[in-house]
Amino acid sequence: MSVQSTTGDTPAATPLEVPAGQRQPDAGAATAPDPAQARRVVAVLAVLSLGALWLQHHLGFDFKDLGIVALTGAVWGGIGQLANLFDEQSGIGKLAENIFKAPLRAGLLFLAQPIALYCLAGLLALMMTTLSSVTIRSDVPGEHATISLATLDEPGSPETQTMRADQPVVHFRPVLTSPFGRLYQLDAEGYVPAQLTVFPFVGRQVLLGRDLVPSPSVLFRPFAEGIAALEDGAVFSVKRVRGGKEEQLIAESDSGSASAFLLGRPKPISDAMMMFWNLEATASQAPDAIKARLVMLWRSPHQLPMQGELAPHDCLVAEIRLHDKLKARAVALLGDESFADVLMQDVDTARVKGPSC
């Protein structure tokens, strides 16, 4: 294939044409390739590739996106091949030249200019060092949790997203950071809040259950006096003692029916637990009918809504009061276990003491 100039001049030997508005190089120089420009083009492609990889890392990779890119490339290549096959210069070939090749060539040559290249590289470096992302997954299939991310160095409302069965991965992006990282607090429903540093380039990937400790769940099991009091409309309350200060967590009043109480996420109750409960009741000389009822009642706890999450080393004081008289009480110091099973002992009012956390 030969290209003939309309002006009668010798056509440029280089495939890269000078865009309009730029100085036309002299004929002697035009015949020789510009190695600096070629290197800059390579540099532009490298910068663009790096940027694409960075974006792909933070935006994620979807097969549907890959399909679009592949389809576009196939169409483009196919058009060029068709043009070559039919030796088409004015129809399909011209269309491909005008729509695809020329703008791309022009853009590439523009970016290959030193100033544009430096600006592009600088802008990319700035973005890569200040923008990042946080990706959150769960090790529990079908997890449903509200997740919020908030910076610790600026006041303001946290960004909140919801993890659902149809959206098992939650992305927070862009996340502002610095070259040395930035501290954020991650709150996930059912997990102990954690502080994490979000670094540039790589971002942060969090796996709930591994990187965030599941919040402990506590099962409070009232005993004889407590159950009877609850049937008579007693009030069940839980307060957390931290540093000598008490924080009311729950005040469930007048349920009208006796039950055990669960704070936190539901956890499976094993046969071993129920066997232990049965032994507990037996040791207290409970008749068989009572033992059966106790175990059934404890096995179906009433889950109480609670603000915030429990955390290891929390000290909880649970009480059942009837007409402000203490009927049952339990003090639970949470450890590292994810499920605490606490029996609320009946209380002789005369022997009541303060919390022993």
Binding site: E225, A228, A229, E231, A286, I290
Partner: protein, 277 residues
């Protein structure tokens, strides 16, 4: 023996029309919710206890005629308490709860006994319920409970009278009440304490007597129930003393009560918790 009883009974007709001013002793009745579950259930616990005591007083009035019962009358020397509690010393959470009956006597030790089971161990984790629920439950329990153990138990220590007329022939004592006033049938057993002066001291001797009828012509208790002495210990110190008119009946107790339901039908409340004695 039978001839004497018939003779005494024959005399009854003459004095039957005369009234007797004597009234059996009155016992104060109170109730107490002692177990924490019942004690702390009601903010107006004294009022609830009073209502329960009223149920017991009505029940006793209907079932036991030889005493009178008043609710929370602290002026009475003899006080009967119905305490809802578990067995003393039982520290398990699943103990049976019932009414313990306790008699406070002036100058004497308390007498107490477990009388009315209320909640079994199988019901130990059930709530108390409302005030109405509790009163209904008490009524139901009382409706199916006999008072025999009470009359022959703690109430045998309450003297129904502090006077009586000793009789030599037949040997016995005339009570200051008619049988109908005591809702008492013949064959009931009483015990009376008689003061019998001896040479140097005055002795108080207990004698057991069986109610066999009524004495018509015995001053001042015309128509009073007559108890004939049984199981008289030898030597007989009572007869000589009566003969010498030195014996004095000091106290009379009912130890084995035979209830005459018909006699008291018009006096006792027809239903627990209702009517007036």
């Amino acid at each position: 023996m039978l001839t004497r009883v018939v003779a005494v009974a024959g005399i009854l007709v003459a004095g039957a029309g005369r009234t007797m001013a004597q009234v059996p002793s009155t016992v104060s009745v109170r109730a107490e919710l002692a177990t924490p579950k019942f004690r702390d259930r009601f903010t107006n616990r004294p009022a609830v206890e009073t209502k329960i005591a009223t149920l017991f007083a009505d029940y006793l009035t209907r079932e036991i005629g030889f005493l009178r019962f008043a609710v929370n009358d602290t002026t009475r020397p003899y006080r009967l308490s119905f305490v809802l509690d578990h067995e003393p010393g039982n520290t398990t959470a699943f103990a049976e709860v019932g009414f313990w009956v306790r008699l406070d006597r002036p100058g004497e030790n308390q007498v107490s006994a477990y009388w009315l089971p209320f909640r079994t161990a199988d019901q130990s984790i059930a709530g108390v319920g409302s005030e109405t629920d509790l009163l209904t439950e008490v009524k139901t329990k009382l409706a199916h409970q006999a008072a025999d153990s009470l009359s022959s138990g703690v109430l045998r220590w309450v003297p129904i009278a502090e006077t009586g007329v000793p009789s030599l022939d037949p040997l016995g004592v005339v009570l200051p009440f008619r049988l109908i006033d005591l809702c008492m049938k013949n064959e009931s057993i009483i015990q009376f304490i008689a003061e019998i002066p001896r040479t140097a001291v005055t002795m108080e001797e207990p004698f057991k007597a069986r109610i066999v009828g009524s004495a018509a012509a015995t001053e001042p208790f015309f128509g009073g129930a007559f108890g004939q002495v049984i199981e008289l210990a030898q030597p007989d110190v009572l007869s000589p003393s009566i003969n010498a008119k030195t014996a004095r009946v000091k106290q009379i107790f009912v130890t084995n009560y035979r209830h005459d339901v018909t006699a008291c039908e018009n006096r006792a409340p027809r239903a627990i918790g209702g009517g007036a004695p």
